[in-house]
Symmetry: D2
């Protein structure tokens, strides 16, 4: 932490700040520039509240030096974390392709789509049973009966299930059915929920808040990690910007940047990241080319009848083409799309 | 809802869309422009999922016409809602001033500050017992013992209490102690929590998500209203923008704009909206001049020792000046700062 | 400037950075923290390119300490600059009210409106003869014949004229007619234009770029100041954010923040800052309450016939009410709306 | 254009709007919904000022239906425009790779780097002689002597030259030396400059404003096209968002979205789009995977000595690897990196 004093701050003010740093158990270091005095400190700054220093007389700015997260940082763990979900290893050499409908709408629709995706070699099935919707009047998901359908998909096709959990009271229920719990963008800073999923053992897919910085995303991951659950996958899903031509702006920079900052696997959601099905293919390719460890894509057999988010769903035939293209792009950068294990075939 | 077809959409595509609109129980109206065909519809569009139409062949864009919220809209209820909190009427002629520490840190600190604010005529005391913090390593609040201290403030000084609730499991507990429940910016789209506070009778102070549009804020209010609780106060607290000189950008436009869109009271939080105590006074004045029905301000007797958000806290002496200035600004626009009722004096 | 080294940077890398700082004529100061090494420097960092340091091996981040502008900063000049335009002093005790049409559309329209505003005591008349328009098919302004009409307004009513200049080749022409040259939001970083207006003596009204930070605004002012023209007024006019209910988000925080950072006068443009005439009155009041030294407002006698930006124009009768309200708000904070000088009356 | 009336608008207000539409030569179409009346219109809406309608009594909103640009739109010209620059065809089957230093800093540095890039098969050399810099105290470029050096690069290596033009007075000069004129991000809405480059025949590389929407970018292109110059290449270079981990957010969605909206070639600038050299490789790959027709990359032989933007420059050895990777990614999607023509070899 670096404390920048105001122009004209006097000795008493400087001394007062240095004393306060000592009270926190750190050692202040004075650096008097030509125009301003700065005070650095030795020791772990994470225990100091920068706001408290900022309020002191004569202080202009406080600059943090260390990242505020620890367990999530690559400095803390240089090697990549690999999160095992069903028979897929997310964060390893190959790119993991997850797909399914936005919402579980009926048994027939879900099983039909699962059959198609199984045919394409998809090994992780996504689908929402509890749906966070901006409007209270929109379809809110099938709830537990939707979870039961997802369990049937796993039973019949051997696919692992990822599905969203919206409230602490549902964590136990959803964890019974799912192989990976998803925290949605609107809940990225729902700290009670982060703590709850951190206290159970199933892997967590943590979506970036639509207006959250990468630092906040990694702090949210830290909430989960610090409760003992080390199986966290972070997901770029588009951020909110001034641009209106697409629903969100897919932050492709986030992918390689997160790989620098954290050891956790990084996956991409091009469906929400664009909000338009006709952009899902090029943006999926871009995410893989940028280094994503996986993709999570919405697919729907008849998108015009989907009860939610149809606009961003791919048809299964396009999905087949997409997987083929991703395989070629992955190979171009020395990876591959993760294979269906022998045991799951035929 | 207006459906704009692509240039070159054929008759079959147009017919298909019109049929779909009829299936939803609405009446389509065709409007063939020189370059494109548009399809309007008669009937309540709130039951139609725009994404479903958007996915249909030949469709370029779907333009909603009605606001997606209903109970919160001024079209639905033209007269102002007044929310009674303790002896104060928020949303009435006068401006209500709420103040207190960011966090309840100790009984001594809280009671001392409450005494000072009581002296200044403040009738609603704010203070956090449960604190949502970006970092898991930051102070998380005193919990129920903090609530007990707040109850003592009410007992001793007759002030009403507003305090944050972070999780559904705490709603009952917090509602026992508080006169108004606060939903924080990070939980504005925590739908389980919105439903829970909508199902209990205490008024709710709903803070705008730091990256939420006004439409999303009013949809979040709609979640609460639609559960039966009509006592909702919405709060502008600064939004996230590209500007870095201030922690957030206080969206002063939101105040008169919300007053046009909704009948709910609109208050302002200049402490979070600026993130700097030296901007709290001018921005408080601005909020009142723009038409805010109330202010909620962080005050701290020794800001440099506050355990959270000290940087945006006012000292009590500055608070006295602030109230005086707000009284003058309020009078300049035909309002006043709400008076201490006679019964509460002396 | 503070150089933060990567975790694990070795001695050679640290030495290399320190040598480079010495080559720039500054003195490096080493600060070895528990996890990272930092290097501060003594001397004026404005001569050092932070990017060059950032590229060096082992460097993680470079943190600037000094503001990159100098002449514009309040550290450089603690006392307020007062810019005299006609008989009005912008930046002094009183609030200066500037008004006029968005565009000069005809002699009749302009003179009629000038008469009305003169009647209300307005002493600075705004109006565009050269109009920057997003679309090449929109009305581009009357050009020099518009300037001639503005000169007639000054002649007849003694009002000073502020009007926009869009290109270097027009600076001489516009300066012949105007009392203050306006640089529009889209040209805030048109450096050739900034240099050109810096080399002539008329005051400059510099509008903030719609996506420019305050630091960039003050650097743009520095371009003008460093050419020798010290009469610069900066103007907050709304920034671009994710919010869509209003055309721009008026950044009211910018007003007191700029007053802290710079000695230059700060004025507000509530017409563009909201994009809706029904928000101009409350946001004008808010700007004054926040400390603005002046307002520049679009007024139109029959807004529905304005050739540009009619949506944000006030009718003259509303303008009269507005001035009255601003007078009361100004007095509430110890200022006033600047008076018509005796010589200009009757 | 669709005019949405306010709830409760009366017949006289509706009639007044319909009359106004007729005065503009369009035919109004009434659509009375259950809650509101809407008025559509037949005819070309580009001649109508939406603000004028918006100001009319009883009007709530005006929704444009047609894109405001015409010559730039894919509706107007369905086939791709190919812009020939030297021996490279931008917008054709293959991906064009442009590279060079941020600034021309000296003859030796420039010629040495040109030799290296020539060796790698690069056929378009970029480099700034006139540099727009946020601070007036930063290096502003070598000016005409820099242009002369660029001409020598073309002479010696047969590479085409792209370089920035900052002001109308320099257009003639720069056009003498360059094969393609670059309009920088800060000048995207400098309309005088757009007109000037539209009136000369050299191709134009138009960079997106850092806070401009795609619609505004295409309107800026329209300014150039409407002056007669049809050789415009648009360039995504990163936009300004709330994220601070990277200097800008590279909007990868913009690439396929622009390809849907316009027939003009779309290229990407990953150097500015990330602001970090260690992200240039993955983001270059992502841009190509998303469908970019070309890349423009900053390369520097010793980045730590670059006088501007060193932080985002690649070393030439990394550049060789990058081209190889881009070739593989291009082939994965059925394209290639454009080849060096036979005549230019050996």
């Amino acid at each position: 932490m670096l404390v920048v004093m105001r122009v004209g701050a006097d000795n008493a003010e400087v001394e007062h700040v240095m004393d306060r740093i000592r009270e926190f158990g750190n050692t202040p270091v004075l650096a008097a520039g030509t125009e301003r005095v700065c005070i650095g400190m030795l020791g772990d700054e994470r225990g100091i509240n920068p706001d408290e220093i900022l309020m002191m007389s004569g202080v202009d700015r406080v600059v943090p030096i260390l990242a505020p997260y620890k367990l999530a940082s690559r400095d803390f763990q240089p090697t990549d974390t690999i999160v095992q979900v069903g028979d897929q290893a997310i964060g390893g050499k190959d790119v993991v392709f997850m797909a399914g409908p936005c919402s579980v709408e009926s048994r027939a629709q879900t099983m039909e789509l699962a059959a198609m995706l199984h045919e394409l070699g998809v090994r992780i099935f996504r689908g929402g049973a509890f749906k966070p919707r901006t409007s209270p009047y929109a379809f809110q998901g099938m709830g537990e009966s939707g979870l039961q359908i997802l369990a049937d998909v796993r039973e019949k096709y051997g696919m692992a299930i990822v599905t969203e959990v919206m409230g602490t009271e549902e964590v136990g229920l959803v964890a019974q059915y799912a192989d990976m719990l998803q925290i949605g963008t609107r809940n990225m800073q729902n700290y009670r929920l982060l703590e709850a999923v951190g206290q159970q053992p199933k892997p967590v897919l943590l979506k970036r808040g639509m207006s959250s910085t990468l630092e906040e995303l990694l702090l949210a991951a830290e909430y989960i990690l610090s409760q003992g659950n080390r199986n966290v996958v972070v997901c770029e899903r588009g951020i909110r910007t001034f641009e209106r031509a697409t629903r969100y702006t897919f932050d492709v920079n986030a992918i390689p940047m997160l790989k620098l900052l954290t050891h956790l696997p990084v996956v991409a959601d091009p469906s929400h990241g664009t909000g338009r099905w006709d952009l899902v293919v090029p943006i999926s390719r871009a995410a893989v080319a940028a280094g994503a460890d996986g993709l999570i894509v919405e697919v729907h057999q008849r998108p015009e009848e989907a009860l939610s988010d149809g606009a961003q769903s791919l048809r299964p035939d396009r999905c087949a083409t997409l997987i083929e293209e991703l395989r070629r792009v992955s190979r171009a950068i020395g990876r591959d799309v993760a294979q269906v294990p022998v045991a799951a075939r035929g």
